[in-house]
């Protein structure tokens, strides 16, 4: 890919972001490529050193606050006509609850996902409690050897299960964190690059 292709694709991918942001970034990357070429790299090598356009875009999105993207998206390209303003005001009882509902749904989904993670950790903690309880009651069940052994083995089972579950919990927590990050990135990407399509 040559420099112009890279910059064009970057511009398309970022469309939807504030115009001055895009221009400033393009100048920055253009300078980076020029400086590398000046050092003896070929054009393709210099562009390659920057990384793929998709990587650059997703990193820019990660660094750009969502509020900035939303602000740019809802900024009208032209001044609104009187009837549009009237409609917006009259429609207020309709679109505001819908907007609130949409955000509530997103928030609810987020909370539900984390509830699953929290429940898993709760099971993990209870298994440990079970293991501890089992072992302790095995020693306190005086005079009844059989139930003591039973308690002890239940305690061991709980301990074993909890060790297994610990790794599961860790993986699920990590996965959820990763998923949250990707979801945020995906949500941000809804605001840019649409004009390129």
């Amino acid at each position: 890919m040559n420099k112009q292709e890279f910059l064009d694709r970057l511009r398309n991918g970022l469309s939807g972001m504030p115009r001055e942001d895009i221009e400033e970034r393009l100048i920055f990357y253009s300078e980076m490529i020029d400086d590398r070429m000046e050092e003896g790299l070929s054009e393709a090598e210099a562009v390659g050193a920057i990384g793929t356009v998709d990587d650059v875009i997703s990193q820019i999105l990660t660094d750009t606050p969502l509020t900035r993207l939303v602000k740019e998206k809802i900024k009208p390209g032209r001044s609104m006509r009187p009837w549009e303003i009237v409609l917006l005001v009259l429609g207020f009882p309709v679109w505001l609850p819908l907007l609130i509902a949409a955000f509530a749904v997103i928030l609810a989904v987020y909370i539900v996902v984390w509830s699953v993670v929290i429940s898993l950790w709760a099971v993990e903690v209870s298994l440990w409690a079970g293991a501890l309880g089992g072992v302790i009651s095995a020693f306190t069940a005086q005079g009844n050897g059989l139930s003591g052994i039973a308690m002890f083995s239940i305690g061991l089972c709980c301990a074993g299960l909890s060790i297994f579950l610990f790794f599961g919990c860790k993986a699920v927590t990590k996965g959820t964190l990763k998923l949250t990050k990707r979801a945020a990135l995906w949500f941000k990407s809804l605001f840019v690059g649409k004009e390129a399509a």
């Binding site: 970034r25 920055f28 990357y29 300078e31 980076m32 650059v56 990193q59 660094d63």
Partner: protein, 106 residues
């Protein structure tokens, strides 16, 4: 590493790279290479943040028929570096305390 801590470190690193003389984007990346790998996007974000915080100023200089942006550290930027040194003096003494405890336990 803690994200806030890393962000603070990167800011000071970039300020240090332009401390002795004005520098430009690619030169900053090259100067920092032995210490940490900095991507263009990250550098851009840091430079922008430091510019907003008035810790550096930018000027365009003609170079080989094109414009190149040079970054110049301001008084606030120099103060940030000094503050960083003070802060890390404290952190280092805490670190020594923590590792001393470790030695004691062994």
């Amino acid at each position: 590493m803690d994200i806030q801590l890393k962000r603070g470190l990167l800011d000071v690193c970039v300020l240090a790279a332009i401390k002795s003389k004005d520098s430009y984007g690619y030169q900053i990346i090259k100067d920092m290479k032995p210490y940490l790998d900095l991507s263009e996007s990250t550098l851009y974000t840091i430079l922008k943040r430091l510019e907003t915080a008035n810790m550096l100023t930018v000027r365009s200089v003609e170079h080989g028929g094109r414009l190149r942006k040079y970054y110049h550290i301001t008084g606030a930027g120099l103060k940030r570096i000094e503050d960083f040194k003070d802060e890390w003096g404290e952190i280092l003494s805490i670190y020594r305390f923590v590792t001393k405890e470790d030695d004691g336990n062994e």
